[in-house]
């Protein structure tokens, strides 16, 4: 239980760090927002119900749930792109995936679905969004400032904030810590879903 809490705390710590490509901040620590927090509460419930997360007793159970929720929220903060229509679509998709996750009878299958959600979000956040941001700009043609118009239009979809390449390594470290926390739950015990 202690090992799980330590991995989860490491997830929150590493996941909160941003390394902006511009500006005076060498690093920033940004906590998760309301959307990631609510999604995390939903997922913490689903993880506990599907038996992926092992429950404890008394106040330790409450402590563990707090750490699981905070770490899951931070994982979503890392995986979700900036505010905009793309984020709205992905959050709805992640909430639907939580329903699919809750319906899995097998613990391993539920864990696999969790991994798929993470990979899909990561591909969009770190692959697709920067790709389009880098290629969808327009130059200013003299008095016609197309560049500003293009930026404003892109912000409707994603408010993209470029980060230094090292940020991806830090965020990968955070998600790896989360995976290690899940690994600590893989003890020798009966599956509550299957046992029921």
């Amino acid at each position: 239980m202690l090992a799980t809490c330590l991995w989860l705390a490491a997830t929150v710590l590493l996941g909160g760090f941003d390394l902006p490509a511009r500006g005076y901040a060498a690093f920033q620590f940004a906590p998760f927002g309301l959307v990631a927090g609510l999604l995390a509460i939903l997922y913490a419930f689903v993880l506990a119900q599907s038996g992926i997360v092992r429950r404890s007793q008394g106040w330790l159970d409450l402590l563990l749930l707090v750490y699981w929720t905070a770490a899951t929220a931070m994982a979503f903060r890392v995986l979700l792109p900036g505010p905009g229509l793309v984020q709205v679509a992905l959050v709805i998709g992640a909430a639907v995936a939580a329903a699919i996750l809750a319906g899995r009878r097998d613990r391993q299958e539920a864990l696999l679905w969790l991994g798929i959600v993470a990979v899909v979000l990561a591909v969009l956040r770190f692959g697709l969004v920067p790709f389009f941001e880098a290629r969808s700009g327009l130059p200013d043609w003299g008095p016609i400032r197309l560049g500003e118009a293009a930026n404003a239009f892109r912000d409707v979809f994603v408010a993209y904030a470029p980060e230094r390449p090292a940020a991806q390594a830090v965020h990968f470290g955070a998600l790896a810590c989360y995976a290690m926390a899940l690994r600590t739950q893989w003890g020798n015990r009966t599956d509550p879903v299957a046992a029921a």
Partner: protein, 183 residues
């Protein structure tokens, strides 16, 4: 509690580490530091330990970073609000250093740094406010540049060379502000 259930030293160390990690997360969330040097300088400022030097160091750090950003950014094509924010913060730190200074020498050093910050700030605003021939000058930006230069020129102990550069810049801003400079 029996001996088997009692936590060992390693477990106590683990709980200690967890408490330290949690505390670090809470402090990072509350204080929002942005640079390792900034953490040290802010602690020095808060603790009241050599506040003058801490304010000067933080101002120098912000000023250096802002000028480096200006060099990298393409003038007129990028939003420079972050860089202006950095210069405003640097100027604030130098003003604080003036308040904390002891003696003429320290005060003059802070004034020289503040004057330099204002010069770079106003020059960047002038460049932004004056566009190509087919676009009118942005008077609001130019007025701001003029206010920044005026603040610098009001400092009593600038060097002669700095004052000349600032006055020259003020003249250029005034020309940009005047609709018909030839008159």
């Amino acid at each position: 509690m029996n001996a088997a259930a009692r936590p060992g030293p390693l477990e106590w160390a683990g709980w200690g580490l967890l408490a330290a990690l949690t505390l670090a997360i809470l402090l990072l969330t509350a204080l929002r530091p942005t640079h390792p040097d900034a953490i040290v300088n802010e602690i020095r400022l808060a603790a009241g330990f050599d506040r003058y030097q801490a304010a000067m160091d933080e101002g120098d750090r912000l000023f250096g970073r802002a000028t480096a950003e200006f060099r990298m950014s393409r003038a007129g094509e990028e939003d420079l609000s972050i860089e202006y924010g950095m210069l405003a913060e640097a100027a604030g730190r130098f003003r604080l250093a003036r308040e904390e200074s002891e003696g003429f020498g320290e005060d003059q050093r802070a004034q020289i740094r503040l004057g330099e910050t204002c010069f770079v700030w106003a020059k960047a605003l002038l460049d932004e406010g004056t566009g190509p021939w087919y676009r009118g000058n942005d008077e609001e930006t130019l007025e701001r540049a003029r206010a920044v230069v005026d603040e610098a020129l009001a400092l009593p102990n600038l060097t002669g060379e700095q004052r000349v550069r600032l006055e020259d810049l003020r003249t250029r801003i005034d020309r940009a502000l005047t609709p018909w400079p030839i008159l």
